[in-house]
Symmetry: C2
Subunit: 148 residues, 2 copies
DNA sequence: TCTATTTATATCGTTCACGATACAAATGTA
DNA sequence: TACATTTGTATCGTGAACGATATAAATAGA
């Protein structure tokens, strides 16, 4: 048994697990909005700037369009967004929030604070969360595939 | 637009993204073994201790058996593991490595080091990776659902 | 012993992720 | 203008994740 192959020595497994546990922690909060976690991320993107093409949304979330397209279709069926052809470039599909999608922002306002309570543990505090953000962001940049 | 709902202020999104990017970075390395990332995690568990029931494997990975069962079936089809009924408790399914599964450990030996090169960025070094482990582990513990 | 409860695993349905591929619109080039 | 290439999105297939539910074996309690 190689030491470096032990689960406890894997950085990857920690991120894998935390990511899933966070999504699980979000589930009860997001059920109030009637959305999944990836759908919530799309809403965050659109609340920040409404009326974006599929590709821009995908880029913000570091996802491919073949993941985002069906996601957006489900959100369209739920009446959260509309999708219409771009005017300047008719290949584009512009995604806009519906009245319902817009209004959900109000309901989502307290979710970050409620999730913050879940993060409340010895190692992550208001003081050092900035450092953690920095570490994670540099890791993200390093891992991002080359965008030529 | 509420400040706390911006994507850049989300801890969750950082973990979500990093987890996916890490899995993507593993893909070319794991293709040499012919396994997916979750399957690789199962191998890590079994290389550490062969012949575990499904439930133990699931617990190590913080997964449910309804995720692990089909995963193991696919690995069985690939000839990496065998699944046989437990002797003490016939409800249990004991998972063992095959000769092929055992031998893969040798091929996997250098994967952690190769992945380490991907992590090589300003913010994560040999000096501070221990601190990061500690932070991530405390977060994991906090997020783990109560196991009564 | 008989029945109720718990435990270990499996099945089903839905939603993601993502590689591979398709296709039409836009752009570049001869 | 004609044709090749690029770009934006969609489709298809596979493998996770996971909630809900099912089922049989084991255990507990009356």
């Amino acid at each position: 048994m190689y030491e470096q192959l032990k689960l406890e020595n894997q950085l990857c497994f920690r991120f894998y697990t935390i990511s899933r546990l966070i999504t699980q922690a979000y589930r009860p909060l997001l059920s109030r909005l009637g959305v999944t976690y990836p759908q919530y991320l799309v809403l965050l993107v659109l609340w920040e700037k409404d009326g974006q093409p599929v590709n821009d949304i995908a880029k913000h979330l570091c996802l491919e369009t073949n993941t985002v397209t069906p996601l957006l279709k489900r959100m369209e069926q739920e009446g959260l967004v509309t999708r219409h052809q771009g005017e300047r470039d008719s290949r584009q599909v512009i995604v806009c929030l519906t009245e319902k999608g817009l209004k959900l922002e109000e309901s989502a306002r307290d979710i970050p604070a409620e999730m913050g309570a879940n993060y409340a543990c010895s190692a992550i505090t208001r003081d050092n969360v900035g450092d953690l953000f920095q570490t994670l962001d540099s890791l993200t940049e390093t891992l991002k595939p080359e965008k030529q």
